[in-house]
Symmetry: C2
DNA sequence: CCAAAAGTGTTTGTACTACACCCATGT
DNA sequence: ACATGGGTGTAGTACAAACACTTTTGG
């Protein structure tokens, strides 16, 4: 006997992306104004539907790049949202993803060409469907992941100052951190390269730039090191 | 303009459950032998398909109870698995769940009536499709969750000894723990009730029974306490 | 010379680790 | 009397938290 797959319900599988960015001060998410019914005119996450010939990671990347032009960024599957009435237009289940991008690389094009807009996490509009819930999930996951994996760097320029890094973690964790303790911790991890060059924008004295050393991190990881902040 | 949902692909959404049990020694998973094609005769997780009128949590519970008779146990969504060829019978996406059950409550009926079988995590058969990968994910999640939430108790009888609790955590973490340190840690959490009664099966002297105090835990949690093991 | 941010160590307390002996009981 | 598992405390170490002053330089 072969299982009769035909007797089972088929449905639409959506993918929605929470796109995080960081503007040196606040953690932000990228939203678009929906230009079709239902819920036309309201703010929404970037979304689309899974095609038969791709997997979810592929769909998430396709949707991200078609709606924002963004490619090759950190993405991670979050959770499947499946309430029966979540989308009044049709019975859909949505798998949420979150992405981390360096806001400076993309800012211009996004707002102009794609009519997407950045909103601070502390003040963003009501979203359609269950997208608010997705964002809350994403923040939780981001907090956990950034304190156990070195993915926070994805939100910063390639070269960054200690101050920027600290501000980033403060924004993610939503709490203030002690400057000396933070720097000591980062130094102890020993996965950054200190550059000769200074960033002269933020102060008269200037502050040294650092970059994440991917190779060193992987080597240490292979030897049993694990990132913990 | 209304979005044309009809132009999008529809597909089958499966739910597969990793069911964990603990037999005083080893962590185990419950498997069934598939009695239909494709892959008839091979071992598989408990699975089924999402119906239109239910959400995923509902489907997971329905599938669990229809295949095993088990109800009202701890379940948590794990991850969506979506490779295009994951199920050769049809294009499906599967959302994996894991469940924790007290093995003693269910053992008999399961093996007899439902022809399900327990396998030790250290020695279980090759599974169909991507089910092996699902099990690996589930173990990771279980390790994380049991060290940050008091859900390990779901795998034990309501009343248990310290030794049992320690053995459970050793099985989950797959490492030996120091008896005194473990007990000190548990006592420091202060979320168990020590009963007057002793369990006389394991030794001549007998060992005190404890139970998890859900109310106390919730009260402490509300006051800022967080479980950490 | 002053304002503004960068950079830098030490002390104190807390949490984790390692470790060994006596107790109670059934046979 | 002895074998079996149950129960208990402390000392040492490592990690986390609190904390304040000096440096640099553009205006």
């Amino acid at each position: 006997m072969t299982y009769n797959y035909n007797s089972e319900d088929k449905l639409l599988l959506a993918v929605d992306c929470i796109i995080f960015g960081f503007d040196q001060e606040d953690l932000k998410i990228l939203l678009i104004k929906r230009n079709f019914a239902p819920q036309k005119g309201r703010w929404s996450l970037m979304g689309g539907f899974l095609h038969k010939e791709e997997n979810l990671d592929g769909a998430a990347n396709r949707i991200l790049s078609s709606l924002t032009g963004i490619r090759n960024v950190y993405m991670e599957q979050l959770h499947a949202f499946s309430d029966v009435d979540r989308d009044p237009g049709a019975r859909t289940v949505s798998v949420a993803y979150y992405a981390l991008i360096n806001i400076e690389d993309h800012s211009k094009k996004l707002t102009q060409h794609y009519s997407a807009q950045w909103f601070s996490l502390s003040d963003f509009p009501e979203l359609i469907f269950d997208h608010n819930e997705m964002v809350q999930h994403a923040i939780q996951r981001l907090r956990y992941r950034t304190s156990t994996k070195p993915i926070g760097f994805e939100l910063l320029p390639e070269r960054f100052t200690m101050r920027q890094l600290q501000k980033l973690y403060e924004a993610i964790l939503n709490e203030e951190l002690d400057k000396r303790n933070f720097i000591n911790k980062i130094h102890a991890l020993d996965i950054l390269n200190k550059l000769e060059e200074k960033d002269m924008n933020s102060s008269r004295k200037g502050s040294f730039l650092y970059q994440f050393d991917q190779e060193k991190y992987q080597k240490k990881t292979a030897e049993g090191f694990s990132f913990k902040l």
